[in-house]
């Protein structure tokens, strides 16, 4: 049995969780997939991605990683799970190592492909050297924990008949080891790690007042906005938009870099994108080396044209 931890936010299951269930279904072969989830969001939709069974701890509403890991470990034991799949987002990165110790499980984070399973052992591919390489990891433990990178596996509709079962773990909020004092939520935005299209701006835009075009193109394409480090350091843009070695790593289908030089530390966060478009007035900008489409020119000249064309495309297609 494979067990997936599915998370919801604002009464909706996260895209990364649907990816994780699809991934588990493909990896499990005939072994079956169970889902563990907390909170009261309607979980019946999860069956269609391949879940054979859905354990819902509706009353467990807390973000303390220790409590979630403890509940997840109980669920894993209850269904005899040999492999637990978690999203490699901030929550998952915090839960996965705690869970691994509780289950004495080998753990690999940043997984980007399906595993090769051979009896009790498994090899799986993860990113390393900040986007500059991949490594095949071999897991020798009986139970394994994998944290998979968002956007690295497609959501698939699978035959699954998973009914939702109420589940009450022993673990509960009174065991929390951290207490929330304040929540600073960024609302109304697609989380960068989940976005399929990202439009990003660098110092080439000269100042925060010019970001309208970056935002407009992102909105038309249904994507999110990102930026380079100096741009967030200067507070032109909020820190959570900063991508790269010291920011976040993203893997969208499409990354459009405007007015960004493409320093190696910036590339570290975006080189996993499927298609990269670079707009830069300097033909020698390092970003062109990893671009699929390039425009040498002024962003203030190129972007209005792209936005116009995108509006026409959108009107015709959607």
């Amino acid at each position: 049995m494979y067990l997936v931890f599915a998370e919801s936010q604002d009464n909706k299951y996260k895209k990364s969780s649907l990816e994780a269930i699809s991934y588990a279904k493909a990896a499990a072969g005939g072994a079956g997939v169970a889902v563990f989830t907390i909170g009261s969001t309607d979980a019946s939709e999860l069956g269609q991605y391949g879940a054979d069974k859905i354990l819902q701890a509706a009353s467990l509403t807390c973000s303390d990683p220790f409590v979630i890991a403890a509940a997840l470990a109980e669920a894993a034991n209850a269904c005899g799970a040999k492999c637990i799949i978690i999203s490699n987002n901030y929550a998952g990165k915090s839960i996965a190592p705690l869970l691994a110790v509780k289950l004495k499980a080998g753990v690999v984070s940043g997984v980007v492909a399906l595993p090769n399973v051979d009896g009790d052992s498994m090899t799986v591919r993860k990113g390393c050297f900040s986007g500059k390489g991949f490594v095949e990891m071999k897991l020798n433990s009986v139970i394994k924990v994998l944290a998979i990178t968002p956007n690295s596996y497609k959501i698939e509709i699978n035959a699954g008949s998973g009914a939702v079962e109420a589940y009450t773990p022993q673990a509960n909020v009174s065991q929390a080891r951290t207490q929330q004092v304040e929540l600073k939520k960024v609302t109304g935005k697609i989380p960068l790690t989940e976005a399929e299209v990202v439009v990003s701006g660098g110092r080439g835009w000269k100042g925060p007042e010019n970001w309208g075009m970056v935002e407009e193109l992102a909105a038309i394409l249904g994507g999110a906005t990102a930026c380079s480090k100096p741009v967030s350091d200067m507070d032109w843009r909020p820190h959570e938009e900063h991508v790269g070695q010291t920011g976040i790593t993203i893997k969208p289908n499409l990354y459009i870099a405007t007015g960004i030089s493409g320093a190696i530390q910036h590339q570290a966060g975006v080189s996993g994108s499927k298609v990269i478009v670079v707009i830069n007035k300097d033909p020698e900008a390092p970003f062109f080396k990893i671009a699929d489409y390039g425009i040498v020119g002024d962003v203030f000249e190129a972007m209005p044209k792209i936005i116009e064309a995108a509006k026409v495309w959108k009107a015709g297609n959607h």
Partner: protein, 245 residues
Amino acid sequence: MKILVCISQVPDTTTKISFADNNTKLNTAGVQFIINPYDELSLTRALELTEKLGGIVTVINVGLADSEANIRKALAIGATDAIRINSEPKDAYFVAEQIAAVAQSGGYELILTGRESIDYNSGLVGGLLAEMLNLPYVNVVCKLDVEGTTATCEHDIDGGREVVKCNLPCVLSAQKDLTEPRIPNMRGIMAARTKPLQVVEPQVVPILAEALTYELPASKGACKMLDVADAGKLIDLLHNEAKII
């Protein structure tokens, strides 16, 4: 207070990566190794805290003798003393077990790691360590204050930031914005030469995960260039050629 700062050494951020021995290891020829940037942040924050509250900062590394230059650098930045566990760092679980064995009886009130090492990008050691030591864990901490026996941490969560409190002792992993890293000065470098660096032998533990082979990302095809006057064509290419929108 007693603070333990876990430091790993990693290739400098500008390193061009290649692999050796049939792609089973990093080709280290010409590679400059540095203290993992996130570990520099946690070290600096640890020093700021002990300057304010009193106490000592011990740095710990699981590594062979070749990491001593970077351990000395951490001492030059201001750590009080250092421990090196004499083993190749095999995987995150292995590293955490080695550090846990030492930290168990050390009486540390705060154990800091980086958010991730920029070579293996696992981000696991901190959480593993916390659970092995049965301590609270907060990851990706971008602001940290300690008062009495409570740590207050602002940290990144999916879709925003959250401020949490937890009791000491605890394990925290450092994220950008925690502080500005310090660079060693001449006096620090001189002092570091004589600061204690203890070498301990590793525990024998089972290896739960191991790296088999490495690979470079597939190289990109040629970049298709568009004239800026035709920039609007990009949308058509993305739709009909790349089929990505």
